[in-house]
């Protein structure tokens, strides 16, 4: 692709955004209410939010790198970068974010049949169906492969029974992609199936879990004789662990900052300078500088891995490193911001609106999607080749 063509594309993108991005959507906001998560029951916060999603979805720009036939725009990385760049310059909000975009989509693109892709991907791209992830169970946390939720064969259906936990936004989701056990006699990694389940199916129920942040983003999800068509298996029966692992690499990238989702966008410098008279404490300043150095280098590493993925090199188990580094950094950043805020940061609302809840939320970053310790074990075995 020549520079001329890319420049022409940039001009085209800029013009289109100028003409189509509603003014209210140009404030760069990234909070929970600012971004559309979509779904059957989604309530738009404004007409502008709805319009923005529709226009972007029509262009395939909610999922720019997905193939056009599945609701995307088929962009390569160079074009995608330009789109993101122009949106950032304008302060345009992300039109849609979801676990469907970050996690299920990439897994379906890799493992789904053409029919499954046609059925599931476009509604994700348009924000019509909201998905959640049914992985962890009370007895299967870091040891995820020991999931016990079972799916028993009944003709062309499964009967699903069991319980999931830490299901993010299960109470708001329309569907769940779940790991279920279809062979109890096989070694634990070889008896798992990746199954798509509509949350409206009789027998599915959810219960929010109140967290230390005062919020309830996570739920318990119960399956009680839930009938699910076998056509909803992604990949092959009993080989769901392959799909799960593939999806986990995307989840790790999302949590480490690849998606705009979980880490939030508070710039450290802005918060530090928000202290009256600027940040003068030399100890805090030194810690903030060190944190900024590391944050910039981690961001560059994310860029480098994207370059690598784009060039066909694949990132593979190195995503465990990004997950580890990104989440530990995010915890550190939020500790610093709380320190910089001092007493002003100790209220649930007020001057640093929402910071306290964000700070508490970050403590889950190094647990969800695989703990930091699991990530280090993955690196030591699969990257460094140390003996198990």
């Amino acid at each position: 692709m020549s520079d001329d063509a890319l420049n022409a594309f940039r001009a085209e993108v800029r013009t289109w955004l100028e003409e189509n991005c509603p003014q209210e959507m140009r404030d760069g906001a990234s909070g929970e209410d600012a971004i559309v998560w979509g779904g059957r029951n989604w309530k738009f916060k404004s007409e502008a939010q709805k319009l923005w999603l529709e226009r972007m979805a029509d262009k395939g720009w909610t999922v720019p790198t997905w193939p056009v036939e599945y609701g995307g725009a088929g962009m390569d990385r160079a074009h995608h970068k330009i789109l993101l760049d122009e949106m950032r310059k304008m302060g345009a909000r992300v039109p849609l974010q979801s676990f469907g975009i970050w996690m299920l989509g990439p897994a379906l693109l890799a493992f789904g049949t053409h029919e499954q892709k046609l059925q599931y991907l476009p509604p994700i791209a348009r924000g019509e169906v909201r998905w959640c992830q049914g992985y962890s169970e009370p007895g299967a946390g870091s040891d995820l492969a020991s999931v016990q939720t079972r799916a028993e064969s009944d003709g062309d259906h499964y009967i699903v029974n069991g319980q999931k936990i830490w299901t993010s936004y299960a109470d708001k989701a329309d569907c769940i992609f779940a790991l279920v056990r279809t062979d109890r006699d096989a070694p634990k990694h070889l008896g798992i199936t990746f199954l798509l389940i509509d949350m409206e199916t009789p027998g599915v129920s959810t219960k929010p879990i109140r967290l230390i942040s005062g919020k309830s983003p996570f739920c318990e999800t119960f399956f009680d004789d839930v009938r699910v068509p076998k056509a909803n298996v992604v990949g092959t029966e009993n080989r769901g662990w392959d799909v799960a692992k593939h999806l986990l690499t995307h989840e790790r990238e999302m949590i480490s900052g690849g998606g705009q989702g979980l880490l939030g966008g508070r710039p450290l410098g802005a918060v530090l300078n928000a202290q009256d008279g600027g940040l003068t404490d030399p100890v805090l300043r030194a810690e903030a500088m060190a944190c900024e150095v590391d944050a910039l280098a981690v961001a560059l590493t994310l860029e480098r891995y994207k370059d690598q993925a784009e060039s066909g090199g694949g990132v593979g188990d190195a995503s465990a490193m990004l997950k580890y580094a990104g989440t530990e950094l995010n915890k550190r950043r939020h500790e610093l911001m709380m320190s910089a805020g001092g007493a002003d940061a100790l209220t649930w609302d007020g001057k640093h609106d929402g910071l306290a809840a964000d700070w508490l939320r970050t403590k889950a970053n190094s647990i969800e999607g695989g703990t930091s310790e699991v990530m280090l074990s993955i690196i030591s075995r699969r990257v460094l080749g140390l003996p198990a």
Binding site: L268, G269, L272, N273, G278, L279, R285, A286, A288, M289, A290, E292, V293, D294, L296, A297, V298, L300, T301, E303, R304, D307, Q308, E310, S311, G313, A318, M321, Y324, A325, E373, M375, L376, S377, I379, S380, R381, V383, L384, G385, L386, P387, A388
Partner: protein, 371 residues
């Protein structure tokens, strides 16, 4: 901006460099030089010139290969992996970058000499214990049509072996950069007994005569030329330090797989696995910053300060961790002179201080980021 991946040319350069250095300059070669009290290997330097390495930043019309800063970083990284001793950064990176910004015949001739491997440069900038060019006290007093230089520079890397010195001096209304032959009357050099067994000298200037022709760039405006030269050096040094980290890390992981205690390889212990995995993570992250610095110097050199300081800040921390963990995970053998890990530790310490330590560069990053 190009990607943060190596280009095909850079990969070929890296492979060729590794192949050559594994034969000509493995760590055992450094040990021989150290044992013989030598800080320079003229034959190796000539071979590096022949392969185009000394001309990596010299324009083609001056006989160079002009491969750019990212490529210079690739070479510096490979040099670091096996502790190769050479004036590559002082001469082929810093001096070449300074000289190519000056459009004079003399500068062009000097560049040609660098490409040919005929000259070694030393950078005489610092005077105190910490890198701080702005604090220069060495004075170049106006004297007729020229200058007289008086003062002392410390930590002049490659200063004993140098044929020429780039000297930063205080003039009437600012700082001025001089390019002087190292044997000019009034210059005396004392080689320092460095922990890394490399060349660094204290250089004293006693009423040294200089003319306008000796000035590189403009009088009172040294930074117009020196800023980019320093940044190029810092970026290449970061790359060397990442190479040092990689060299030390490879030894460490190898040892974890082979050393047995309690009847098993010690690499089976989770405590050590996690330390090794953390160290690898730090190395991966620093690699991105180092690549980025090279690309930025090649593609947007006027705005490379943040990228370069980020690279040097990260490289100092990562390399320090790599050698500290290297010794710790090797246990007692890591403390012995017979074993190579100590060489890495000592070189990392010197490279950490040269051209600005962690605090110096972290402060530049913070300033560029607005806090």
């Amino acid at each position: 901006m190009s990607t943060l991946l190596l280009t095909e040319d850079e990969t070929m350069l890296q492979d060729a460099a590794r192949g050559f250095l594994d034969g000509a300059a493995p760590v055992s070669h450094f040990r021989k030089l150290r044992d013989a009290g030598q800080t320079h290997d003229a034959k190796l330097w000539a071979e590096m010139a022949q392969m185009g390495w000394t001309g990596v930043l010299v324009p083609e019309d001056a006989g160079g290969s002009d491969m750019g800063h990212a490529a210079a970083g690739v070479l510096a990284g490979e040099l670091g992996k096996t502790l190769v001793t050479s004036p590559f950064i002082s001469t082929a990176v810093i001096a070449a970058t300074a000289l190519r910004q000056v459009a004079t015949d003399r500068a062009r001739d000097a560049l040609a000499s660098i490409a040919a491997g005929d000259v070694i440069y030393g950078l005489a900038v610092d005077e105190g214990a910490k890198h701080n060019p702005e604090a220069t006290e060495l004075e170049a007093r106006a004297d007729g049509n020229g200058f007289r230089l008086t003062g002392t520079k410390g930590f002049v890397v490659d200063g004993s072996n140098a044929d020429r010195l780039l000297v930063l001096a205080k003039t009437d209304a600012g700082l001025t950069l001089f390019d002087l032959p190292a044997d000019r009357e009034g210059i005396s050099r004392v080689g320092q007994n460095m922990v890394d067994a490399r060349d660094a000298a204290q250089v004293t200037f006693d009423n040294v005569q200089a003319t306008g022709d000796d000035v590189l760039g403009s009088v009172d405006d040294a930074m117009a030329v020196l800023k980019l030269a320093l940044e190029a050096g810092q970026a290449a040094l970061s790359a060397e330090m990442l190479g040092l980290s990689a060299g030390a890390f490879a030894m460490t992981v190898g040892y974890l797989k082979e050393r047995k205690q309690f009847g098993v390889e010690i690499g089976r212990f989770q405590a050590l696995q996690h330390r090794a995995a953390h160290l690898w993570s730090e190395t991966e992250i620093t690699l991105s910053a180092v690549r980025h610095a090279g690309r930025k110097l090649d593609e947007d050199p006027d705005n490379a300060t943040l990228a370069v300081s980020l690279a040097k800040a990260r490289a100092t921390q990562t390399a320090k961790l790599a050698v500290i963990e290297g010794v710790q995970m090797h246990g007692g053998i890591g403390m012995t002179d017979d074993f190579d890990m100590g060489f890495f530790m000592k070189r990392v310490r010197v490279a950490t201080e040269w051209l600005g330590d962690y605090g110096y560069h972290a402060a530049k990053v913070a300033a560029a980021r607005g806090f």
